[in-house]
């Protein structure tokens, strides 16, 4: 007799515990807005990423097509896996002196681990992170980017 009562008790407590769980899920059934995190593809237009979000490395240019990169190579040294490659050239300045400047600042997005060491160690703050995160392309070669724009020059006053 005792065992039957215990058995019935177990069943009742079991069903009760299931009902308690159903209460939680049932309450969310009537307020589905609280269970959704983000409706990503449909909110693309007004999706704002956080300022510090590490999307990809970019080199900001001003309106005169000037950047701050002096071509010192510190970012290349600090990069842990050779994502950054700097090809420099020698230019002759107005007063006739020879000077080193960048020809190409090559950034391989496919290799980047987003450790932010290049951006942090740059002595002239030439690099920054953009908030772009949709990086999918059809051709792998498109992931090798040249950060300095064609025809760009070093900003005046940056050594």
């Amino acid at each position: 007799m005792r065992s039957i009562i215990n058995y019935l008790k177990e069943i009742i407590f079991g069903v009760w515990s299931l009902l308690k769980g159903m209460k939680v899920t049932g309450s969310y059934f009537f307020r589905p807005g609280t269970i959704v995190t983000q409706k990503y593809p449909s909110n693309r237009k007004d999706l704002v990423m956080f300022d510090r979000f590490k999307g990809e490395v970019v080199m900001p240019h001003n309106e005169k097509n000037e950047h701050k990169c002096t071509g010192c190579g510190i970012c290349e040294l600090n990069c842990p896996n050779g994502t950054i490659e700097i090809i420099s050239k020698t230019i002759i300045t107005e007063d006739g002196k020879k000077k080193k400047a960048i020809d190409k600042h090559i950034y391989r997005l496919s290799m980047c681990t987003f450790c932010a060491l290049c951006v942090k160690t740059c002595p002239s703050n030439a690099l920054a992170f953009s908030q772009k995160f949709e990086h999918a392309v059809f051709n792998r070669a498109l992931l090798i980017k040249t950060l300095n724009k064609p025809g760009s020059q070093l900003m005046k006053g940056v050594e």
């Binding site: 269970i35 995190t37 842990p80």
Partner: protein, 374 residues
């Protein structure tokens, strides 16, 4: 070719060997378990590791100390921040740098947030392993709020890379404190819902009570740490025994249970979530003023010698062992990862139980495979 004789002796006990993994949803990664079965019961388990061996320890020998940190993100990617902290603490210990209180407090808050989100993800996946798919959605929804905090302050969601030797990469975001407080307020209301949904559930009880018992002696001899070890009564919390960062100035309980079964491991993690919230609440209002990083030399060279630092990650004790020969690269780096030791106990505790229980036991160990393979 010589034909092999097929052994057909029905009297003898025969084994049926199956592969669980490398692609199996309940191994949470590429872990291959060679399971010998007798009927439905597990006779023995042979874990085969190394499918995603990435050679992190060897790679560390050719890069500088600040560069090591981003690699440790990739080991135990769910508690990435704590891994970073371990390397930073070791380097700072070797260089004998005094770290300002602000850095220590921020690191502790971040570590506890990492532990919270790790346990949330574990809860979500554990529920899913045992057939409660709803848990997965609820767990990830709440984890998203912590990841937003990380994203705003660190710039990354899982792979944060927020620490650097001598401090932090950036200062905390102005919204950080408000967001964390909002989250704690929110999660204190949500965590009882977890209990209603899964902890009290009768099916869950039947599948976890008394399954995969691990005694205290075995936990010590296998080196099982973290919530898994503490559920067996093994007092192994590094935060308590060897406080690092700001853990010496907060009050918290070390969660200890004595049952050692799957249910105890579950309860230990749920209790740790409450404790993590207590720790964060004690620190979030009084973050001291000061710099967010100590000025370091551009090239960090450790003095010759051996250095060891251990921290408590969400899964157990992580040890970082660095041998330096005085150069800018370490001579040898060894990580004592918690998951490798926790995996070693699987054969011991799961043999004798049914194969469906193996999923529950494996889930309760909370294994992260890249941390095992490194």
């Amino acid at each position: 070719m010589e034909e092999k004789e097929i052994i057909t002796t029905p009297d003898e006990e025969q084994e049926y060997v199956i592969n669980m993994g490398p692609q199996h949803p309940s191994t949470h990664g590429v872990l291959r378990l060679l399971v010998s079965l007798k009927g439905e019961k597990v006779k023995s388990i042979q874990p085969h590791v190394g499918y995603i061996h990435s050679g992190i320890e060897k790679m560390c020998e050719s890069i500088t100390y600040p560069q090591i940190i981003h690699l440790t993100d990739r080991m135990d990617y769910i508690s990435a921040h704590i891994n970073n902290e371990a390397v930073c603490l070791n380097v700072e210990k070797a260089l004998e740098i005094d770290i300002p209180d602000r850095i220590k407090v921020i690191r502790t808050i971040m570590s506890e947030l990492t532990r919270l989100q790790s346990h949330q993800l574990w809860w979500a996946c554990f529920g899913m392993d045992l057939g409660g798919l709803t848990c997965f959605f609820y767990g990830l929804r709440d984890r998203e709020k912590i990841l937003d905090i990380f994203e705003e302050t660190c710039g990354g969601r899982m792979i944060v890379s927020y620490n650097c030797p001598g401090g932090l990469m950036y200062d905390i975001h102005p919204n950080f404190q408000k967001r964390v407080k909002d989250f704690i307020k929110y999660f204190r209301k949500i965590l009882p819902e977890y209990d209603q949904l899964l902890t009290g559930n009768v099916i869950f009880h039947e599948r976890s009570r008394g399954i995969g018992k691990l005694t205290k002696e075995d936990a010590i001899s296998f080196g099982v740490t973290g919530p898994t070890g503490r559920a067996s009564g093994f007092s192994c919390d590094v935060r308590k025994h060897e406080p690092y960062s700001a853990y010496d100035r907060v009050q918290f309980k070390e969660i200890l249970h004595t049952e050692g079964d799957t249910f105890a491991r579950y309860i230990a993690r749920i209790d740790e979530m409450w404790e993590s919230m207590n720790i964060i609440e004690q620190l979030i209002d009084n973050i001291p003023e000061g710099p967010f990083a100590v000025k370091m030399k551009p090239v960090i060279k450790l003095p010759e010698g051996e250095y060891y630092q251990r921290v408590e990650t969400a899964r157990g004790e992580l040890g970082v062992y660095i041998i330096s020969d005085g150069n800018k690269n370490p001579y040898r780096v060894k990580f004592r990862s918690p998951n490798f030791s926790n995996l070693s106990v699987l054969n011991h505790i799961a043999s004798g139980f049914k194969i469906a229980d193996l999923v529950a036991i494996g889930g309760s160990l909370d294994l992260i495979i890249p941390d095992i393979d490194r």
